[in-house]
Symmetry: C2
Subunit: 197 residues, 2 copies
């Protein structure tokens, strides 16, 4: 049986973590990028379908490929981030289920069922994207997730010829709390959105 | 600047955490339920839209209301769980943006735009559902997320007359590793799904 994490760990993951818009000049190593994935991949998905696909945009050349598709407000901070993850979803995820979920013929639950593919792909790819954010934070990194970009443009540039579609972007690095960090926005109180029945 | 969490914390959140199908006979208190929400709500969403809505099904009466809509494979374990969270999404989330995102007229980005409402509601409600799982784990609790249930049935029973729609269920408690814990399923290697560019 587990016990609660320390207050410092919970602060780092949730309470004092912020969405950063500026970054300290400190590299995110390839080893850290691999480690983020090795944690995020362990989070639960339906039938272990694991539809998230990732491109970690780190080199200057790759950043320049991404730049034309960024909204104006997201461009400068993204170009300055140590790395930008393109969190995407493979809508042919079901082709991998014989390997990922060998207990049952899970492929047959999806093949030819466009609505089930769409719903489960989106839900589980997005769950994995959130695990990625939490994994980066657990490793001492900060995140800046964004959806302000040209989705078809990013898909054509990075995922041409596949059924992989961008879901959101996440800048990753060491956040600069002194630059463009917005005041914390309000959240709903428990009783506004939740009930114990 | 943060540092990586301890190995024990990372194990608890990711590496040794599992999806449990049986539960130790130990209550999850209302205080713990509130605490899960207080952490999960701090995770990032687009324009702070926070579309997740929650029903924590804890009483015997509420469990009986949920039971008819559970798939056969999910019924017994859910009825036995200390609490089952209905993670749902309010597709009228944009009505709250003047409060949640006072910096801009964010309501106008969504009102009347069914596709934007659907995409952003699903994405951000699901991100918040993943934060909820990670929050429960960070508090020493275990989770069993599920989508095997009658979605329209749950919506009619718990969210009639609203635009709130169920997204997934999460059993929450102290997992019983000795009962019905499946072997860990394989995950993709980094190079199968990710690239550093």
């Amino acid at each position: 049986m587990s016990v609660p994490l320390t207050d410092a760990a919970i602060d780092q993951l949730f309470l004092t973590a912020r969405t950063y818009n500026a970054w300290l000049p400190k590299e995110v190593t390839d080893e850290q990028i691999h480690r983020i994935y090795e944690l995020a991949k362990m989070g639960p998905t339906s039938a272990n379908m694991s539809p998230m696909r990732l491109r970690f945009i780190k080199s200057k050349d790759a950043k320049e490929r991404l730049k034309p598709y960024l909204s104006e407000g997201n461009s400068a901070k993204t170009m300055a981030a140590p790395v930008t993850a393109i969190v995407a979803t493979d809508f042919e995820f079901y082709e991998h289920l014989p390997k990922l979920f060998p207990h049952a013929d899970a492929r047959s639950w999806f093949a030819g069922n466009a609505q089930a593919i769409q719903e489960h792909g989106v839900r589980n790819g997005t769950l994995q994207g959130a695990y990625l954010i939490m994994a980066a934070r657990s490793l001492g990194l900060d995140c800046g997730p964004m959806t302000g970009f040209d989705f078809p443009g990013v898909d054509a540039e990075f995922f041409a010829g596949t059924q992989i579609k961008a879901n959101f972007l996440v800048n990753i690095g060491y956040g600069d709390a002194g630059t463009n960090l917005f005041p914390r926005s309000p959240r709903f109180e428990f009783d506004e959105v939740a009930r114990i029945l």
